[in-house]
């Protein structure tokens, strides 16, 4: 029996043969990347918003990181009993600075500047056993 997996929110990321990608957009006029998708370029110096679908990842560098030592308030989701997790801000090679959980067993091993790749991993499990998936970063 295979476990059913659903994304935490539809349309934010996808698993390809080449690994996980974030689904966003990029302005063809000023090259600014957006995640999630944006229907308008928010760059005040850009006068000709031209939004095109774009996907981001999988490679990046950790800018900063932290450990969530206490259970976060809603609308965050987690399985009981609560287990602290690491999260980080990652600069993807395609110019996007993005937040995400860090897929690490030992948070102490994290360092700013370490190389990571985008993955999709369970955030929590529904009562019927369905795994709720989100994007995460795994050190490489």
């Amino acid at each position: 029996m295979t476990t059913k997996r659903i994304p935490v929110i539809d349309g934010l990321f996808s698993d390809t043969a080449d690994g996980t990608r974030l689904l966003g957009s990029r302005c063809a006029s000023c090259n600014v990347p957006y995640f999630p998708k944006s229907s308008l370029c928010h760059n005040p110096d850009c006068t000709g918003s031209q939004m095109e679908d774009a996907s981001f990842g999988p490679h990046g560098t950790v800018w900063s990181y932290s450990i969530q030592n206490y259970p976060p308030p809603p609308p965050a989701r987690y399985d009981e009993p609560y287990k602290p997790y690491a999260l980080g801000v990652v600069d993807l090679t395609d110019g996007l600075r993005v937040v995400g959980r860090m897929a690490v067993d030992d948070p102490e091993s994290l360092k700013a500047g370490c190389k990571v790749e985008l993955v999709s991993e369970p955030l929590c499990t529904e009562e019927d056993g369905t795994e709720v998936i989100t994007w995460m970063f795994r050190p490489i």
Partner: protein, 392 residues
Amino acid sequence: MRDVAVLGVGMHPFGKFADKSVTDLCRDAVVAALADAGVQWRDIEAVAAASSRFSGGKGWGLNGNDVVEDMGSTGIPVYNMSAGCAAGGNAFNVGYALVAGGIYDTILVVGGEKMPKGFIQTSGVEEETDPEFLRQRCVGMPGPSFWALLCRQRMEEFGTTEEQLAKVAVKAHQVAVHNENARFRKEFTLEQVLGSNMVSDPLRLFEICPVSDGAAAVVICSAEKAKQFSSNPVWVAGSTVATMSFDDGLPRGLAGVVPSGKSFHSEASTAVERALAQAGAGPQDLDLVELQDNTVYYELAFPEDWGMCKPGEAEHLLETGETLPTGKMPINPSGGFLCFGEATTAMGVFQVCELTWQLRGEAGARQVPDAKLGLGQTLGLGGNGTAVVLKR
């Protein structure tokens, strides 16, 4: 633009008050501010109030209307200002602008809160188009982790130690002992702070401000009006509101652009820079600062952002006692958010109260000697920043 004076200030002490409503807290603060100003409720021509998401305001943030109904419905205009944790500073700015612009002579600015228990949920909406909602749901990244990420980045850049972070909290409690309005008036040792639970690594429980109940009110008026009541009032030298910049280095939602330079807390920096420019003063001219220390990190980062000291120098100034009221760069002589706890929308008004007492020389054992120029600063959800410069 007309000169604007701070005529009177008042507060309800901060703490947890199960038996009082937010209207009770505001009433105490307003009555104290009116008495301090020497004016009657009938003299107030308009109210600029901070809108709360947590208490009173009929669930619509109509907190100024609550105050007017309670004090007596005189038919005056009410401006309810919403700006997250910056709402108090925002309300002050609106009150200031209305007096400076000649619309009214005497205005009451007020902010009060009764906060729910525990760490607050940042966003109030559960919609997939809301960036805060997405960040909480998909990543699980509440307010304190936001501060933790900034703090960790500083530690990696400047070598800030956990001990230095803890020393900020020790210093805050050392001064708050002398403040009758503070919620926590007990000294903490370095060991006690370092021994408190890790909340959002690298930040510990005693290094993050809790939420509190409290209220603050101020009466501001035109220079002409001020002359009738006081020979030596405190003046508003600058009052500004700003929002964050597009190139801000920390994403507030899920993502942003990798910035070309260092640009954090842009809403705060912009507000402070503009307020100092308005005051015709530089960062070195400030005798004291009341800044929004939701966490110890900000007390190290903000003075550098604003040019009060060099990047990476804040830890040294802290450790040599220069951020104490008697030092050369006094930060949060009130004890700050760490010792008051955050009654979110009251904070910008609370800072005006403390600056006023300091500039009048009425701050007792926490007095900054011969204080002439002081800065207050808040920031809130939505990328809202406010600053105020008061002078004597």
